[in-house]
Subunit: 451 residues, 2 copies
């Protein structure tokens, strides 16, 4: 790797300039700002690097599919996204979000951590590899979508169109991740799934004077009671069928969790909590965070919310809920269970207005692809990385990889204070250059494995 490291060192300024250039191009998918321009720019960079590039159309943003042949017969998939989060609140940024700013060894800008830094690190790793050894050690397939920040709304169309490619990869290097609050490199192997529903209860055809609460039904109480029937004060989801498909945690996953140093006190203090839920701590806390399905109320809105008093019987109440799912729960099944439970408990009148979902995917820490990534990271970073069988968050791992039995490892250039989705998003320059080296070492190692 000495020659790769030297090549990266030589092109340090050029690589950094390339990242800054990509940051300058806004690509806010939720607001439709600069998404197509970013797609064009990125496709050009990939073509310049020697990739064969397609822009696969969907009903939303196009998905870039870039391919390059390598020495080994097997193929490796990279997954990234070229869209970013909105920038507000703008006033909390110390420098403009789309003007990359270097301060104290860090680079600031919207998307620098999530995940244009990852994209450019991978691109630079490929260029240094090509310059150093002439040809990639392994076939590369790179999928870069433009709607990750809005729930990968149309990625399923790309998957349906190009599953010939997706079925034939040995593993996937996922976006995101990096070092945790204790400077340990973390590799996640999957994501929780999600069921997001909006529930609505309706009453009279307009708001009524609250004196009429004596004789007119209240949709606020109806929705509240319906929700209280989904999860009680003990925190247990009471929907029959909810846990039916939960797969036991494997011994390898248990072992991985045991090896994970979760920065418990740091995170508790950061959130301003006196205790975690149910006074969880230690192994139980980690297991709940990674393998516990949830039922969360994202929003509940009904009636008057201004200052002081208004005496009103609202005519509508709405709640948004998300259920984080674990293998092998499926959103389309859970929403049926919720509907059936509402009906069975006398809440036929509470509507499920709409729902969206993603299936969960947890990885196997013992998988050879995962073990290769862990070994390479251990060599580069000087300590064994943490292997997280699943992230607590959600992403399209099942859709893109898990349904085809393709293992996944994250590889990111972020750190504990990267502030993804928040003002002053940033990465450390050392993490960026180490990240380039890690990707180069990883594809070298993956080329050495038998298919």
């Amino acid at each position: 790797m000495t020659s790769i490291r030297a090549d990266i060192e030589t092109h340090r300024e050029a690589y950094l300039a390339r990242l800054k250039d990509l940051i300058r191009q806004p690509s806010i998918s939720s607001q439709g700002t600069g998404v197509a321009e970013t797609c064009t720019k990125l496709a050009g960079l990939l073509e310049d690097a020697g990739f064969q590039v397609e822009r696969v159309p969907t009903d939303g943003a196009a998905v870039i599919l870039a391919r390059m042949a390598g020495d080994a017969p097997q193929s490796v998939l990279f997954y990234n996204h070229y869209d970013v989060q909105p920038v507000d609140p703008l006033e909390l940024w110390d420098s403009p979000p789309f003007e990359p700013a270097q301060r104290d060894g860090k680079l600031y800008g919207r998307g620098v951590a999530d995940n244009k830094g990852d994209i450019v690190a991978r691109l630079c790793a490929i260029e240094s590899t090509l310059r150093t050894r002439g040809r990639l050690p392994v076939n590369l397939v790179w999928a870069i979508e433009g709607e990750e920040e809005i729930g990968s709304l149309h990625l399923h169309q790309f998957v349906a169109a190009r599953q010939d490619v997706l079925r034939n990869v040995a593993g996937c290097v996922w976006e995101a991740g990096g070092k945790n609050a204790r400077e340990r490199f973390e590799i996640a192997l999957g994501c929780k799934g999600l069921l997001y529903v909006e529930l609505v209860a309706r009453g009279a055809d307009r708001d009524l004077h609250s004196a009429l609460a004596a004789i007119a039904p209240s949709p606020v109480w109806r929705l509240l009671w319906a929700l209280a029937g989904l999860k009680g004060p003990d925190g247990q989801v009471c929907v029959p069928g909810f846990l039916d498909d939960v797969r036991p945690i494997s011994p390898a996953q248990h072992a991985a969790l045991a090896g994970w140093e979760y920065p418990e006190e740091e995170n508790r203090t950061l959130m301003g909590l006196s205790a975690f839920l149910d006074d969880l701590t230690g192994p139980a806390l980690k297991e709940r965070l990674i393998f516990g399905p949830t039922c969360n109320i994202d929003g509940f809105h009904a009636g008057y919310g201004g200052p002081g008093t208004k005496t009103v019987l609202p005519n509508e109440a709405r709640a948004k809920l998300d259920f984080r799912l674990v293998p092998d729960q499926r959103p389309e099944h859970i929403v049926e269970c919720v509907r059936a439970h509402l009906d069975a408990t006398g809440f036929e009148d509470v509507e499920i207005a709409w729902w969206e979902g993603e299936a969960p995917a947890a990885g196997d820490p013992d998988h050879p692809f995962v073990q290769t990534a862990a070994r390479v990271a251990g060599q580069l970073y000087g300590h064994p990385p943490t292997l997280l069988p699943m992230m607590a968050g959600t992403g399209p791992v099942h859709l893109l990889c898990d349904q085809f039995d393709v293992p996944v490892v994250t590889a990111g250039v972020g750190y504990a204070d990267s502030r993804a989705h928040a003002p002053n998003e940033n990465i450390r320059l050392t993490d960026f250059f180490e990240g380039i080296e890690y990707i180069a070492a990883l594809i070298e190692a993956l080329g050495e494995n038998e298919p």
Copy 2:
């Protein structure tokens, strides 16, 4: 009464002009618009009519206290308010709210029904009486406050300062009321009380990514469970002590309810309901509306309420509740019961951020003062009026009258489609002139009673 009726007929245009003039003067207490100007204007009108007028200061709007001596030794109290509701939504008015407009035998304008029409009708009745018989038949004490539409916030200061006057009246002619959907004149004898509370639950010190719902407590669930513990799906308030002080309905009150033709189908259709709460109908419906205490959620707000999805664990949830109270429930006692119940059921963390209250007051249909009002109304309107022992709504009846054992009867110039608090508020001109005649006849009759 013939001479009174003739005098009213003679001054028809002048009386109508006086009402229009008062409508033109905005007096929106919740927005602080024109309240002091209206107080000055009204005090001038009362002085011109021959009243001795004081403006009793409070920490809010001044209360007008106007007095005029009459033939009989006893005194009668009039209660009104000179403030009005806001006008929005302005676009739904067919003519500007503060430009009185006469159309199809009706007069439109903000406050014309609630309750400047009542005030001017009473003033005109007094003027016609003075012109016709030289002197009032009874001593009159008239209290007109400027904060009724914001919960009579400072009326207690007036009551504390002038209870010498309030204790020595034989009865009170209250604001509001008129004819119902079946053209029957309704006289109410009291008001429900009210406890209004805001409950707050707090979580982390900022909103969290909803993936953290696995390990971080949710204030939305906490507040929801706390509320579900106050009232369950059977509609019964489960707070120990809530019903302890409820006084049985008296035989006279029962009889009054039985004589009330509640326009059940008309009102159900107007609200757009397929059925009333608990499928109530007939006598049970009337009893619940007039004598049933309530626990209503005026508003519940937490987290995301915009379009689509946002995956967030909100760090705060707020709910506003009103309890309508019946004799002898007291808001200061009920709020203690609620606090004790929250504590006893494990919701010490749910805060009662603030509360306000008014005590209830129900009247006795057999009281001689009430019987006089009913007899006079029956003679004037050609049918026995409905006597409602209590309104379903709330007002300061207990504060101003009931605590001093002073009986109350409403006397208003409204009708079923008067749209108080709403766009196109209006009264019918015939109701206005009949209302003048009713007040003149009522004070004449009250002067005939022994003290």
